[in-house]
Amino acid sequence: MLLIACPWCGPRDEAEFHYGPEAHHDHPADPALLSDEEWGRYLFFHDNTHGPRAERCCHSAGCRRWFHTVRDTAHHEILAVHRIGEPKPETA
């Protein structure tokens, strides 16, 4: 049970949150311009990094706000949390 620091509510148990997909993998501006292969990349190929991974997270049982985390998939530790629109903090 991770302790996740919601940027709006503060640290809360993981059970209050909902993991979203990879962060910064945004919907293409004009999908019609993409080849089938490029569109397939958008739909099905997501970051699966071993190490720090930027992802979306929603405090679904709290403020219901989405935000971004950088979580290390090698040991679960959350290295950074930031609000949508804020620049991704340095985690190195």
Binding site: M1, L43, F45, H46, N48, H50, T73
Partner: protein, 410 residues
Amino acid sequence: MSADARAADAVEHPEWLWHAAEPKKSYDVVIVGGGGHGLATAHYLARNHGITRVAVLEKGWLAGGNMARNTAIIRSNYLLDASAALYEHALKLWEGLAEDLDYPLLFSQRGVLNLAHSPQDVRDGVRRVEANALNGVDAEWLDAEQAREVCPILNISPEARYPVLGATYQPRAGIAKHDHVAWGLARSAAAAGVDLVENCEVTGIDVRAGRVTGVRTTRGVIAADRVALCAAGHSSRLAALAGFPLPLQSHPLQALVTELLEPVHPTVVMSNAVHAYVSQAHKGELVLGAGIDAYNAYTQRGAFHIVERQMAALLELFPLFARAHVLRAWAGVVDVSPDASPVIGHTPVEHLYVNCGWGTGGFKATPAAGWVLAHTLAHDTAHPLGAPFGLERFTTGALVDEHGAAAVAH
């Protein structure tokens, strides 16, 4: 003590299994990943194709990944034609595997019940049973009372929060002893001349002019004409070394066992609706599994609230488990694909092949995965059973979507 339990405790492993090989400078085929699928690939390369200049590279101890961590359920009652064909091929191989390997695999065809808890579960179950029948997979639809006849400890009270409304039943399904399977395959491959190299992590994949030429490892550079990636949850990392992505997400999947108990549970019960599955292994411990953990992770540990929820679900189905004790919980790293089906076959790199994306269900496919991949390695062409599972489906959209119904109701 039951006959099963006695048999399990009386099992004698063969006098000789395999020796830890030193890696050679080059091989015809290098298989990355010494789990069940990698070992099965080596076994069938030798057996079906006579290819034995083969190395299986394992970064830790042989079959120490998901092969050592799964709940060992074997079944073939999948919905879609392509899946049913592949898993049924596996089940047929399972039925002869102990003899083939000359190893007691404790393969017990005790049947699997997949429970239905809602009218939509019932529709989905009947649909799958009917499809199974036409695909040559043994399957029956049972009402709740019939399900209890198969598994007398199952709680079918209509007062349950999500009552059992029925179940699909595959009598030929069952369980096997995973370590025995791995060791049997390893022994067979090693005896045929395959090098099983442990503590050998692949750190790079050499590609020249679009074609693989070998791998770099913690134990040196190894040249290879063909390379197969069989690394389950770590497949994405290996593909990245060769410069291409895979449509996979790696998640922890937890399992648990109880202490040894006198026989109470004669079959295997799975319930997707309450996210739990359980069997009683030969020695007597209950083997319990849950759904995957929500986050991506490469750790072999999961979050305990998942387990607590799973225990609650299991007690709904089996109130008599209340005072059984959980002895240990663990997790494997599973590679989840978008359509819950594997990715088998060619990659953008010539002579480099993948076998991954099996998610939570790879154990049951072990022999078929090895069979199909060995064919592809030997001939550089897709095996007919593997053809629907190529990477190109993520471009065309022709997924093999085994998620079934989206569990939406009006």
